[in-house]
Symmetry: none
Subunit: 214 residues, 2 copies
DNA sequence: GGCCTGTCGGGAAATTTTCCCAATCTTTCG
DNA sequence: CGAAAGATTGGGAAAATTTCCCGACAGGCC
């Protein structure tokens, strides 16, 4: 696995997409895709079997989460290089990925060259971020507080969670023994603090943050 | 455009993915990718400029929907061959695509060879479906009780999709060239027809139906 | 022709959202 | 300890949205 070039394990549940990356990556000098996997479980198995230099992994796969795969791989080898390659680059998702042990995060809307550059970076032990992800995180860290969700209090989080899971204002008020007015105020506060405009955006935030699932 | 081989327009808002398809397709004898586009608007422009034999298009793109692109292209040339290549293959999405004028529908979880085969089929004027999509539609047509989404018209589906992806009423109105009032009416109608009460529930419906992803 | 369905928007009452505010109650910290 | 900070709970009132009804217009179908 060492010596000649960089060996890569590709994880994505879409064969055509995988096929595409393989060709893109192998056109790079010194890159070798030595294995592919289409699920979190297969990714772990392939990692054990092939010991690749770097794992390029789509975080949103059907079934078990990509985060799970990252955790499993890191549990086995905490020096593993795992580069997340994802459709979405929301701050909570990115943070969750790094918390799970990722070495880099590149969105699929990035140029192919960004992916290649990121692979070289994580191999060198550096942390890699695509530009759009960096901007999202930067904008967030410029705020006096840190993550969007960290600026929310316990109650606000709970109201967000219940809203996102589809409950009405009345149901939430009843659940928490609050007045409708208070729930409305929290609802508004959460939007104000997160800077989000629509309830749909709140749902997406809650889901991508792992607050609730679909 | 005619004569030697099949000319292809590639539409997808993820550059790396696009790069991948291009290589996959061009490895096929007689296939030539003559243009790429990363949005519905760009797709229409490219179609006008390059008159490709077939358009391979990802239906879930940021901004204006892929359905919009299909309609625009078909409005200009109703013999255009448009092959939808999508992450999800749920029945409502597939139906919407064909209603808009698609010639074929292949999911990204299909083998690359399925995409190639589908392109050859639509070129011959046949309708192409990947196996998984065919199974979904078959299962559904055998099921006496239809999906909730089947009660929704095309416009309603589109408004639901954009709502669920986090756009505001104003943005949707602008995207579709409708008045805010009309979008509000559709929003209400969708809730009434589905029997759902909150926007969060709509988002969950849209996501679990494959209308949009997170 | 008549009928039905999908698309598009106006109107008006009902409701919600938006922000402002104040009263508690903790927690923190000098 | 006492002051400051912040979380929690809700009122108030104007602004905005939702809700439901309506009519108009375009197609398709019998």
């Amino acid at each position: 696995m060492a010596g000649l070039g960089i060996s890569i394990l590709l994880v994505d549940d879409h064969p055509v997409v995988r096929q595409g990356y393989r060709r893109v990556l192998e056109s790079q000098d010194g890159f070798r895709v030595i294995a592919e996997a289409d699920s979190a479980a297969a990714a772990y198995a392939a990692f054990k079997a092939d010991a690749p230099d770097v794992v390029v992994l789509d975080i949103s796969m059907k079934g078990a989460s990509g985060l799970e795969a990252i955790r499993n791989i890191r549990a086995r080898d905490n020096r593993a290089c795992i580069l997340v390659f994802s459709m979405h680059g929301e701050a909570p998702l990115v943070k969750a990925a790094f918390a799970a042990g990722a070495s880099g995060f590149v969105t699929k809307s990035s140029e192919p060259s960004a992916l290649v550059r990121a692979i070289r970076m994580v191999i060198r032990g550096e942390r890699a971020l695509s530009d759009d992800v960096a901007h999202v995180l930067a904008a967030e860290s410029l705020d006096p507080q840190r993550t969007v969700l960290d600026r929310l209090g316990e109650r606000e989080i709970e109201i967000l969670r219940q809203l996102a899971s589809g409950l009405t204002t009345e149901q939430i008020a009843a659940n928490l023994h609050l007045s409708i007015k208070t729930v409305q105020n929290y609802h508004y506060l959460v939007k104000a603090k997160t800077g989000l405009q629509t309830d749909a955006q709140l749902v997406r935030l809650a889901v991508t943050s792992g607050l609730t699932d679909l």
